[in-house]
Symmetry: C2
Subunit: 209 residues, 2 copies
Amino acid sequence: MARPPLSRDAIFRAGLDLVDREGIDALTMRRLARALGVAPMSIYTHVPKKEDLVVGVVNEATTKMVLPPPETPPWDAMRAVIREFRRVAHLHPNLVPLITRQPPTGVDSLRILESALDALRRAGLDPAATARAYRISSSFAIGFVSLESGGYFRPLEDGGGSRRLDLESLQGMPRLMEVAPHLATWDSDAEFESGMDVMIDAIRRSFGV
Amino acid sequence: MARPPLSRDAIFRAGLDLVDREGIDALTMRRLARALGVAPMSIYTHVPKKEDLVVGVVNEATTKMVLPPPETPPWDAMRAVIREFRRVAHLHPNLVPLITRQPPTGVDSLRILESALDALRRAGLDPAATARAYRISSSFAIGFVSLESGGYFRPLEDGGGSRRLDLESLQGMPRLMEVAPHLATWDSDAEFESGMDVMIDAIRRSFGV
DNA sequence: ACCTGAACACCGTTCAAGT
DNA sequence: ACCTGAACACCGTTCAAGT
């Protein structure tokens, strides 16, 4: 099989693929080189540092976010962007710990950020208010996706009967015993939609738009 | 100087110290052993895997969260717990990427979780609703703390004039150009408090309590 | 039970060398 | 300009050996 020539894009695509298939720890310069069929040092011709690789892989994923059409009503557009963030996070669950640590910085990925800011500006918020509203929306989206894709509540599963948590420690904790079974099992789609609605209503009310 | 004997607690304390002083990448079995003045393999007598070390260090931090007094009015107690999470995260900013990936699992750290669930139950929510409300609160807290302590918006600083982002890519993005200067600079204390109020009001309204 | 050194299969990255 | 192998200073972890 003839190898396509090395390029930044090919490297980032292969890196995302590696993360999807084998997890975040598999994203090493050496394993990536092996996946690409080149020597470890060849990657350094195109990507100066491991950190740049990580940023590139994150951008590779966020570039897949689909923009809402320009004439979409502002708050529908905002909802669409937030849904797209979650959709892409679900497409690459292993990448979630990285995708939640920095905004898109690639030219293509910046378009989705631009379109979120455009929606908020069109809704009547000034630049400072737009920044506030975007931070609140991002907090919600990042926190929500961290919880669901990171398996945050997994250690509390089975009412604490799992390997991670022994039943004894829950003895003096009646609330934990009755609530834990409900924490890790839930309708995350419905909760995401209703949480998003609540948050957007709150933003609109607090800015009077 | 005589070294105190090795123990799980001493190891976790030294690990948290290492993270605080030198960052998350410095938390390796070998550097931790050096900090403790023992051979690398000595740690394995008390901690079977690196992953257990990480969990222990996270619990070491979350154990510092102070419980609200039991008779605190439910929603004040809930606010207090969320503030404590953020306070401890600020105490150990380098730990934020780890603290946002799993709930406390240590016996001591579970008390803070118990007290949050207790507040929600006392407020009149049933166990299933309590789980929902706790997830929403956690989404907000985790997302907010990720944004502020992770320096999420740093790559967008200076209106895009930083090293991470070249000005050219912002040419066709007028919203980004006008909003970016407001994204990375903000009154995070005030925004946290108002965001928390909005979220708690929304929970109360949606559950009718 | 607790601690250790040597060894193994990995890392990211520098450097000198090739085309 | 692009790719490479050898080398360096690291990792986590197994194993056999010590107390």
